[in-house]
């Protein structure tokens, strides 16, 4: 996903001269080509995420579409108020990019796990969350974000995720994307890098992905939910404030709410040392 992201961003920057990339002193062996090709639009802000984010908002207010890039919680929680006040409240075109969504950084530990980021970002009224499930969804999301500039959050896994789509999926906020055919009455619906786990435990059920979602996109969920009797959501995030929680809120008080079964990471993984696969298994995402 990381490689799909930087390849696609570099390609888009060649045709959009307002795209800028600011990194928080991270991105070794990832951002070099962008930096070499577009030195005027690449900035290493240093280890200073609050300034990186305020700075991005300032540049965005002057016509740039700025991408801030860092690991897991650093570009989100560390500078949450800058995202809330400077970017989201002013509806500025800044895309916050976090690499290492979920527990992708494994044994590096809790400081490097993004398992509450949806909760933070989905609380922002104008924010679009882009949580692609494979490299093709990453490219599709990025193209959508560049075509529709605004406050946004792109949550990536790491590198080397498998490709699940055969062609570029058609993405839009709130729109479920079909990934695997199967039984339609009971389905799996995942967001982000949990897509692989959703496919693995589908057991004949159809698998869908929802890579773009937001507060505003809640409105369209009841129609899509109505087509199925049981929807099992999967996310590499804690249940509280997460994706399943979002979907349930979208139809709270209606019969559709009862057909949602959210599966999310158990908080016990927050205290453990283990690799990604093990944390996802112990957390209840995979078997």
């Amino acid at each position: 996903m990381r490689n799909a992201f930087i390849e696609e961003l570099t390609a888009l920057a060649a045709t959009h001269d307002n795209i800028a990339l600011i990194v928080g002193d991270l991105g070794y062996s990832v951002v070099e080509e962008f930096a070499d090709r577009f030195p005027d639009r690449f900035i290493n802000a240093g280890v200073a995420e609050q300034n990186m984010t305020g700075l991005a908002a300032g540049m965005a207010s002057e016509g740039y579409h700025v991408f801030t890039y860092s690991i897991a919680n650093f570009p989100t929680f560390r500078c949450a108020e800058q995202i809330r006040n400077d970017i989201d409240h002013h509806r500025l075109p800044v895309t916050v990019v976090a690499v290492g969504g979920g527990v992708a950084y494994g044994a590096l530990g809790y400081s490097h796990h993004a398992v509450q980021d949806y909760a933070l970002m989905r609380a922002m009224p104008h924010m679009i969350i882009a949580a692609p499930g494979d490299p093709l969804e990453t490219r599709a999301c990025l193209r959508w974000l560049v075509a529709n500039p605004g406050p946004s959050y792109l949550r990536l896994g790491k590198a080397g995720e498998p490709r699940f789509h055969e062609s570029m999926p058609d993405v839009a906020p709130g729109r479920w994307v079909p990934v695997r055919d199967g039984r339609d009455e009971a389905i799996m619906l995942s967001t982000g890098a949990a897509l692989g786990a959703a496919i693995a435990r589908a057991a004949g059920r159809a698998v869908w992905s929802l890579p773009l979602w937001s507060m505003a996109a809640k409105a369209e969920q009841s129609v899509q939910l109505a087509r199925h009797e049981r929807v099992t959501t999967l996310e590499d995030h804690l249940a509280d404030g997460g994706f399943g929680s979002w979907l349930t809120e979208a139809v709270a008080g209606t019969p559709a709410a009862a057909c949602i079964e959210p599966i999310a990471l158990s908080p016990e993984i927050c205290d453990m040392v283990a690799d990604q696969a093990t944390l996802n298994r112990i957390g209840g995402l995979t078997s």
Binding site: A48, Q50, G54, E62
Partner: protein, 282 residues
């Protein structure tokens, strides 16, 4: 030499402008029973010099691409900016009556929805990073406009400001001016008693900024500094403006309580009389 398409309506009598800013600020805060009048009076002279002569801005084209960008980081002092915008025709004077009223655009912390206001603040430590981004954008595009950020003194407790101070110097942003409203009083006690900033001048110099200190109520000194920018090629500018919180109203000067209190109608009349009197003496 850059084009100055905005100078036609200026310069104004900045002392008269400052008087009007103080009067309007006091009236707004009294009507709305709002706080922070001391903070607004502290910057009234700075606002008058900025909007009366130093800033290149045009009320008929508030989003003019070549305008100077002014950002109030101490958003709680917004009545001084709203008053300046009204006195220089960015907004209707009558609209000031809606300050803090339900449905008004005049939020009690500065709002970007107000014509002429670039950026909403209220949480401290946001204006300088944002302004730094604007200044960087201007540099990268070789633009001639400048970015001016007005911060309080207390908000230099925020780490984000120091991050931006490092960044602006590292990137040689000599199109960025930060004015520090140094009234030496913060929310509970003095800056010295709260979280010491001194030695401020040498601290900013050590950060790589060009630093000047002025009496923040001396219009000539403020104008010289602001109009003489850039002071040193490749360096962002820090203008430490020594001010008095509550300046112009004797019973508000240097009093923490006027960070919070709003005047009674009777006290408003006393305050307005003092301000009118001070200007006629000058």
């Amino acid at each position: 030499m850059r084009e100055a398409p905005f100078v036609a309506a200026k310069p104004q009598d900045t002392y008269l402008l400052a008087q009007r800013i103080r009067e309007q600020a006091l009236r707004m805060v009294t009507r709305a029973k709002a706080s922070h009048v001391g903070s607004a009076l502290s910057i009234a002279d700075i606002m008058a010099v900025l909007y009366g002569r130093a800033l290149r801005v045009d009320p008929d084209a508030p989003r003019h691409p070549e305008r100077d960008r002014f950002i109030l980081s101490k958003g709680h002092a917004c009545v001084a900016v709203y008053a300046a915008l009204a006195e220089t025709r960015f907004i209707e004077r009558a609209s000031l009556e809606t300050y803090g009223v339900n449905g008004s655009i005049l939020m009690a912390h500065i709002s970007h929805k107000v014509p002429g206001a670039e950026f909403s603040t209220g949480a401290l430590g946001h204006g300088l990073p944002f302004g730094t981004g604007k200044a960087l954008a201007g540099k990268r595009r070789e633009a001639s406009w400048r970015t001016v950020v007005l911060t309080s003194d207390g908000e230099w407790g925020e780490g984000s400001n120091w991050e931006a101070a490092l960044f602006a110097a590292h990137h040689n942003l000599d199109n960025l001016i930060c004015i520090l409203d140094y009234n030496k009083l913060q929310s509970l006690k003095t800056v010295d008693e709260t979280l010491r900033l001194e030695p401020l001048h040498s601290k900013f110099e050590a950060f790589g900024w060009a630093v000047r200190e002025v009496d923040g109520h001396d219009h000539g000194a403020l104008a010289d500094a602001l109009e003489g920018a850039p002071w040193e090629a490749g360096k962002p500018m820090m203008l430490i403006a020594h001010t008095i919180k509550g300046k112009g109203v004797s019973f508000m000067e240097n009093k923490v309580e006027w960070h919070y209190r709003n005047p009674t109608p009777e006290l408003l009349e006393v305050a307005l009389a003092e301000i009118a009197g001070a200007n006629s003496d000058a």
